[in-house]
């Protein structure tokens, strides 16, 4: 009897728990799971995104089902290569710059000096700024004739490039703006990591006569690797999904499509060209690419990430 009562209590307990989860789960189901499943289904159709999505009607499938046609077109058209190249260009420039910048900020802010708090707020302001405002400011900063950067370069005798108007320099321009926007956020994560490192390691190193530089490379960096790993994964995923800065800074994907990237293409196909089937297939291709890269990162994680015992 006692056991039965206990069981009964247990199941009540789980119903209760489940009921508390339900609101957020409903949101997750409606806003994430269902759309994910739907985009997968839609990616096998030529649905325009304008007519009603009658996924249960036979007529819809007769008119719209095209099998793997969208994927075939994505893989065979030159567009994928172009978009991948542009995105890779962004990733290759952005990740090292962002990481070095964040590390620098974290190290600077970790020192106990007056005004460190003020600086940490200053570095975080771009993170809180909306991309619309940020991108518009950067458009001015990068203006070839009147912009701050080219004027600074001119002071040291360098003639600055055409930035957003130049197909070779448009992406580096976007990278600069993105690094400016993101270093505060990632710097804060790394700062958390730095604060977590036990000072006794540094004391021991000092006694052993290790220099500051040596201590940084032998103690700080290895113990920071779990944080760097997290920053790398998150920033890589975000980098593949760059969108607002591209849309605002280079309205029509830049000169010669230099800043044409995945999400920009997905948006244009879905909401401008009315080829929603193609857009959804493109978003699945993007998902697969991010999935592959993240898996690789997790595979090689063991080789360089050290967890403090």
């Amino acid at each position: 009897m006692a056991i039965r009562k206990h069981r009964k209590q247990n199941s009540f307990e789980s119903v209760k728990n489940a009921s508390f989860l339900l609101p957020s789960f409903t949101g997750f189901l409606v806003l994430s799971i269902i759309p994910i499943v739907l985009t997968f289904i839609i990616s096998f159709t030529s649905w325009s995104g304008l007519q009603k999505l009658e996924i249960l009607s036979k007529v819809f499938w007769q008119e719209n089902f095209i099998g793997f046609e969208n994927y075939k077109e994505i893989l065979t058209s030159g567009e994928l290569i172009r978009v991948l190249k542009n995105t890779a260009y962004f990733v290759v420039l952005y990740i090292p710059l962002m990481l070095t910048g964040s590390l620098l900020i974290a190290t600077l802010l970790n020192k106990p000096y007056k005004g460190a708090k003020v600086f940490s707020i200053l570095y975080y302001i771009p993170v809180l700024t909306s991309w619309i405002a940020g991108a518009l400011i950067w458009k001015w900063v990068l203006s070839p004739e009147y912009g701050a950067i080219n004027n600074l370069l001119a002071l040291i005798g360098i003639e600055g490039p055409g930035w957003l108007q130049d197909s070779k320099w448009a992406m580096p321009g976007i990278v600069l703006a993105s690094v400016w926007k993101d270093v505060g956020f990632y710097g804060l994560i790394l700062l958390g990591g730095l604060k977590g490192i036990n000072t006794m390691y540094y004391e021991a190193a000092k006694i052993d006569g290790a220099s500051k530089v040596k201590a940084f490379f032998k103690i700080t960096l290895p113990l920071l690797t779990p944080y760097i790993f997290f920053v790398l994964i998150i920033s890589m995923i975000n980098a593949f999904q760059i969108f607002p800065q591209v849309m605002i800074m280079t309205t029509d994907a830049g000169p010669n499509g230099a800043t044409q990237v995945f999400v920009e293409r997905i948006y244009k196909y879905g909401f401008r060209y009315y080829e929603m089937g193609y857009a959804t297939a493109l978003s699945w291709v993007l998902f697969m690419i991010i999935f592959i890269f993240t898996s690789i990162q997790q595979k090689v994680e063991k080789r360089w990430v050290h967890y403090e015992q």
Partner: protein, 420 residues
Amino acid sequence: MKKVIISVLVMLLLMSMVFAGCTKNDEPSGPVTIKFMTFSANPESGISLDELKTVFEEQNPGIKVEIETLGYNDYFVSLQTKFLGDDAPDCFETNFENFVAYADQGLLANLEDSISASDVDLSILNQETVKAFNLDDTQYGLPYSFSNVILIYNKELFDQANIDYPTSDWTWADVDEAGAVIRALGEDIYGYLQPIQFYEFFKAVAQNGGSILNEDKSAFVVNSKENVETLEHMLSRINETNIMPTEAQLGGMGEWDMFLSGRLGMLINGVWAFPTFTEQAEFEWDIAVEPGNTQKATHFFANGLAVYAESEKQDAAFKWITFLSSSEEMANFRLENSWELSPSLYDDVLDKYTKVTPPENKVAVFESLDYLITTPAIVEFSMTADIIGQQLSAAVSGDKTAQEALDDAQAELESKISLD
């Protein structure tokens, strides 16, 4: 136990709140209420249709109009979700590009029967604007407004350079000649500005006897000899004669700002610039019909009005859009608010319009209509414009020659878009 019941009840309450927004309100009984969606009249433009709505409702006691206004940038995505969410308005405003896509997808009501059954006189409308919303000999929309593109010039710079003002007979050669004289007035003074983008290119090729599509509109001919010549000519104004500023010389400055700064002789732009130029220009300016080369060609941006194919109130919706399109009240309203032009050509309204100066030569706005060409009515219009626009920017930035850029545009269009 009590706690469980309470928590479940709270949950249900929360969920009912979440889904409350999804239920549809019942239609009120009494007069027919139609929903209308628009982007051009909005608080930012300082124009509200409420006044006209009252006039219309007085004239048509059985109809009530509910107007929903959205900014242009959000408008088409919103409309798209409304189509999908079974919440589409009975009638709405659309630009030309989306009009073709909507009609192709069967979202627009065929207006032929309504037009022949109605007693409204559509002959008052400029027929070119009516034609713009006719596909395969079927009228799917009515023109709402149009804005055409003309040549705007700074009279003072022409005086300084001691040359004659542009006239309707001007050709490219005249522009180049005058542009060079004005360019010589100063280091940072430029003769001419015509942005090299899709709409300008598409019109300029027509001025040179070229076209984007072949005659029976079955194939792209973007890299034809006339078209390459046109682009080369446009580029030479930047790179050779430099009567037109390079991107770097513009330095992110907008075309209007450039003109208003008094450093630009001639600008190809639209009638929508008039209110701002009238208010802000500190010099005298006027307009002329845009110069052509082998022939004249001008372009306008037209917005239209359409009725949703699945609306149950199509008759009432048609009455409202006819009112917006062709009534004299609307034409006057547009004039009084110095809004985009009305497609209906009432003599007295036109007369009043031409009398509002500057520009002195306002008749050029209407003269331009004689040389009107419309953008190709292809379903993938937006993609076509983007592909060509991108190659044009490659040519402007010097990454490609005119020939290479247009060859690449042609190849990409052929691989992406089938025209049958």
